[in-house]
């Protein structure tokens, strides 16, 4: 956008304003759409700038012409209005003019649509994301310990520079998967699986994602992260997920936490390689590596985990009981009445101890 700022006149002022806002956004808002960090997002961004420039120019010209006409033809004594009924040539001209502008925008649009639909390459990372009210189930195809899928939740690790193909499903209502820095949104529709356009992340970092389709009470708090890391880190993470964790030392606080976890949490949560193998809630294997909890809504600190387990409804408006009336989708209960403060602290210590090393 910077190159446009040399030009003078009101039009470039408008564009300058847009550029300024874009830079402003890129600096301070982590979920901005104006800071692409993948090839696909970058293609979208180029098109985005094109349409902003074209529409901004049209808007500015029309407003200026309108302002001029209003000033020039304001009522003045002794100057009667000229009784003009129309002009066919002019009208044809301003029918054809916009058509030409639209072709300018339409052709790259169709190329963009078709280009985004390409098939993933042979070495692409294949991920199935299943949206639930109000969290994300993530399965890596073929990376599981037995060649099956490898499960995690709410935080998606991908290697930088490798193509990623995400297959989207929904377990209940319609959601929408969106990581502005990496990929435009595609809806997760039950009974209507979709594939995101393939993309290759170009930079390392932790990127914000959020559900973009209204999906019920806690829609605003259905967020996630995509962690783009060097291939070696990604492979280390995958192999740690495939390996059963060593049992905690007997008699420790963490060991007591694991016992409580298995008795109170395992009906819904999985920690790979332990008796906890529930499927109703997010997979918590390697939870200690997570940056956030509650579907990307707060930092993964002991205080936050304890608050969440104690009374998640004080944090996130999740109804009680069976979500969608389904026996396999029981909402997480409030543990304030069933577990003591110490027990909750022990569970927290246990799941946060689940790290790579």
């Amino acid at each position: 956008m910077g190159r446009l700022s040399h030009h003078r006149g009101p039009l470039s002022l408008v564009l300058l304003g847009v550029a300024f806002l874009a830079i402003l956004g890129a600096c301070s808002a982590p979920q901005t759409t104006f800071d692409p960090r993948s090839d696909t997002a970058d293609n979208i961004h180029t098109l985005y700038i094109l349409v902003i420039v074209v529409s901004g120019a049209v808007g500015a010209v029309v407003l200026l012409v309108m302002g001029y006409l209003l000033f020039r033809f304001r009522a003045r004594p002794g100057v009667p209005a000229r009784q003009i009924h129309g002009n066919s040539k002019l009208e044809v001209a301003w029918t054809l003019g916009p058509i030409l502008l639209l072709i300018m925008v339409g052709v790259p649009t169709v190329f963009g649509i078709v280009g985004a639909a390409r098939a993933p390459s042979a070495d692409a990372i294949l991920i199935t994301v299943t949206a639930h009210q109000w969290w994300w189930e993530v399965d890596y195809e073929g990376l599981g310990p037995d060649g099956g899928s490898l499960a995690t939740a709410n935080e998606i690790h991908i290697p930088v520079g490798r193509e990623v193909a995400i297959h989207l499903e929904s377990d209940d209502v319609i959601h929408s998967f969106w990581v502005p820095a990496l990929i435009g949104k595609v809806d997760a529709v039950p009974n209507h699986p979709n594939d995101l356009p393939v993309f290759t992340a170009t930079e390392i970092g932790s990127f914000y994602g959020q559900c973009a389709e209204f999906c019920g009470a806690a829609h605003a708090l259905m967020r996630f992260r995509v962690i783009v890391e060097p291939l070696a880190d990604f492979e280390r993470w995958v192999s740690a997920l495939q390996t059963p964790p060593p049992p905690p030392d007997q008699g420790t606080f963490v060991a007591s936490g694991q016992a409580i976890f298995i008795s109170s949490c395992s009906r819904c949560h999985t920690v790979f390689g332990t008796p906890a193998a529930g499927k109703a809630g997010p997979d918590l294997t390697l939870f200690g590596e997570r940056l956030t909890l509650g579907a990307g809504i707060m930092d993964n600190t002991p205080e936050n985990v304890e608050a969440w387990v104690t009374d998640l409804r004080a944090i996130k408006p999740i109804p009680e009981g069976l979500l969608g009336g389904r026996a396999d989708r029981e909402a997480m209960p409030t543990f304030a009445g069933t577990l003591s403060k110490d027990e909750i602290a022990a569970v927290t210590a246990y799941i946060q101890s689940q790290t790579i090393d």
């Binding site: 808002a29 000229r82 916009p98 649009t109 319609i174 929408s176 209204f214």
Partner: protein
């Protein structure tokens, strides 16, 4: 006196509240529509202000998620169905017969029925607030979120039933206005001599006739899913929830044009009046309107670019959507060309019309951005979209309808609105509107999704949201000035006379407010601008010596339309009772159904003009 075996005597020339309840006069019905729309406008505005208060700060807990979700659902539903549509209907009702030189609409009692169904349907839906189960699945109510599994409370039921009742009224109004415009034009008023507002009303009426059955069917199926256990949208029974989206938007996109075309008609009639010259390219503007209406049925899937429709379907809908910008652009250019060479006086109606053109155009341009599908995947369901449709529907429809309000208020009440307050209203509204909605584009660019009741401080959205919320207060103050202006002017405004603006169309030929029979003598029309071409046209002949207004027989008032509307609404309400208690519900629904049948029967056999009214004349 002829016998009338009703529950009550048929009103002949009633006054007061009873007069309003039984009226079949298109002008009174128009006023009822307008006043009701303004009441709901204030309600929807309050809903918006509460949402803005909630979003003014990050991590705010002013209202909870449930309340917020109900607020945006009801704000959208109310603005579309209970404010903008009925405000348009207010002007159709009051103005169309006057503009085409008719004494009333084709079916005056059906017209009353339309109004009462609108009012009762709107009330039925809003009663849900008192039952603390306001609809909360969004105004486009995507399946399967609306199923009983995911929306257990009766909020969605209120939404379905209220909309269904409203819809019957809207559909009957659509038929009524097609028949009125096609059949009741004064001699000499060919189609190409109709004011643009009449043309747009005709087009909208056809849009209603073709679009509303789709939503009616869609919500009837949803009703069957929720009440009687069918599985049309039931994912667990194998349904593809995109069925709902297709049906909703096949209705929903033409609906957008139902909301915007009245404003386009109003502006096309206001611009010539205040630039003292004919509309530039009248024929082109009319044709552009019809082309927009046709194309409006072929672009619905642009609301669904991210749902996974496949490459070629998306490309086709993208191109079609860009195509609709062409006739829209032609309209804007013709409006500007109307200003060229004019002698422009900046009265409040013109200011709002100019506000309409500029703000609507900005909304149209962001609409073209959405048609660029890859870009739309970054904009869909964000505040960028919220900004876009508020530029179209607030900057467009509401500004246009407000222009109509200032333009026609003198005709409706006989008094001018205050220009000083009007100009204050305009500038507050223009500034407040842009403060509120322009920054929403930036919020969208910064990745803020719509329909979120809260966001965290680290998102970097708080400053802009605070600014937007302040802007919404400026809009609220503009609306307060408008209400003040209306109340004050209706009582103490300057008398308007027949034609205060020096306007060219027929409604300005008769006194303000018009007598109940409109035209003493039905005029003969010889041009598009009859009052500007006095030589060629005799519109209102000099008062005839023997003119006796009692010789004009207008349809007599009737309470059957209102009773029938009440019956339909109670039958719908009975279903809500049925959820709570089957037998009570059946009793309410079936007895209301009988009331509907009885009302239809009495209506059918009631003479249009009561015998008593005729007798009075001959005494």
């Amino acid at each position: 006196m002829a016998a009338n075996i009703g529950i009550l005597r048929r009103p002949i020339a009633p006054t007061g509240v009873w007069g309003w309840m039984t009226t079949v006069d298109h002008k009174k019905i128009g006023v009822l529509y307008g006043v009701t729309a303004i009441v709901f406008f204030v309600l929807a505005g309050v809903e918006a202000l509460v949402m803005r208060a909630q979003l003014a700060q990050a991590d705010s807990d002013l209202v909870g998620a449930e309340a917020f979700n109900a607020l945006f659902t009801m704000h959208g539903t109310t603005m579309v169905f209970m404010v903008i549509m009925p405000m348009g209907a207010a002007f159709f009702n009051f103005m169309i017969p006057l503009m085409i030189g008719a004494r009333d609409v084709a079916f005056p009692r059906l017209n009353a029925l339309s109004y009462w169904l609108f009012l009762f349907g709107a009330i039925l839906m809003n009663v849900s607030f008192f039952n603390s189960s306001a609809p909360d699945a969004g105004w486009f109510a995507y399946a399967p979120l609306t199923s009983t599994e995911y929306s257990g409370s009766s909020g969605v039921d209120y939404w379905i039933l209220g909309l269904q009742v409203l819809g019957i009224g809207t559909l009957s109004a659509g038929f009524n206005f097609v028949v009125t415009i096609v059949n009741l034009r004064a001699p000499g008023m060919t189609l190409m001599r109709m004011p643009v507002f009449v043309w747009m009303t005709l087009i909208i009426s056809f849009l209603i006739i073709f679009a509303f059955p789709v939503i009616t069917v869609a919500i009837t199926m949803l009703l069957f899913d929720r009440f009687f256990g069918t599985t049309i949208y039931d994912v667990s029974a194998g349904a593809d929830p995109l069925l709902w989206q297709h049906l909703f938007w096949v209705f929903g996109h033409p609906e957008v044009y139902i909301l915007i075309l009245p404003a386009m008609g109003i502006v096309s009639d206001i611009l010539p009046t205040f630039s003292r010259k004919p509309l530039f390219g009248y024929m082109t503007i009319v044709m552009a309107g019809t082309v927009i209406a046709f194309m409006g049925f072929g672009v619905w899937a642009h609301h669904m670019f991210t749902v996974g429709l496949g490459t070629w379907a998306i490309s086709a809908f993208s191109i079609a959507t860009m195509g609709i910008a062409v006739p829209t652009g032609v309209k804007v250019f013709n409006w500007l060309a109307t200003l060229y060479g004019g002698s422009i006086t900046f009265k409040t109606p013109l200011l709002f019309a100019l506000g309409f053109i500029s703000m609507f155009m900005l909304g149209g341009l962001s609409g073209v951005m959405h048609a660029v599908v890859p870009v739309d995947t970054q904009q869909q369901d964000t505040y960028f979209v919220v900004a876009h449709f508020h530029y179209v529907l607030f900057g467009g429809s509401v500004f246009g309808l407000t222009a109509g309000l200032y333009y026609w208020f003198p005709k409706i009440t006989g008094r001018m609105m205050s220009e000083r307050l009007g100009k204050l209203h305009f500038w507050l509204m223009l500034i407040g509107f842009n403060m509120t909605f322009f920054p929403m584009h930036i919020l969208g660019v910064l990745g803020m999704p719509r329909r979120i009741y809260t966001y965290s401080g680290d998102q970097g959205w708080e400053g802009i949201n605070t600014f937007v919320s302040i802007g919404s207060l400026v809009v609220a103050s503009a609306i307060a000035v408008m209400l003040l202006n209306m109340f004050r002017s209706a009582r103490v405004g300057q008398p308007a006379g027949n034609n205060p603006w020096g306007a060219p169309t027929l409604e300005w030929a008769i006194p303000s407010p018009p007598p109940h029979y409109n035209f003493a003598v039905v005029p003969t029309v010889r041009s598009l601008y009859p009052l500007w071409d006095e030589e060629a046209n005799v519109v209102e002949p000099p008062e005839l010596p023997h003119f006796d207004e009692t010789a004009i027989h207008m349809p007599s008032p009737s309470y059957w339309p209102m009773l029938m509307a009440a019956g339909i609404t109670l039958a719908a309400g009975g279903l809500l009772v049925w959820q709570w208690h089957t037998i009570f519900g059946l009793i309410v629904s079936s007895s209301s159904g009988l009331l509907v049948l009885y009302s239809i029967y009495r209506w059918a056999f009631e003479p249009v003009i009561a015998a008593e009214a005729l007798e009075d004349v001959h005494h």
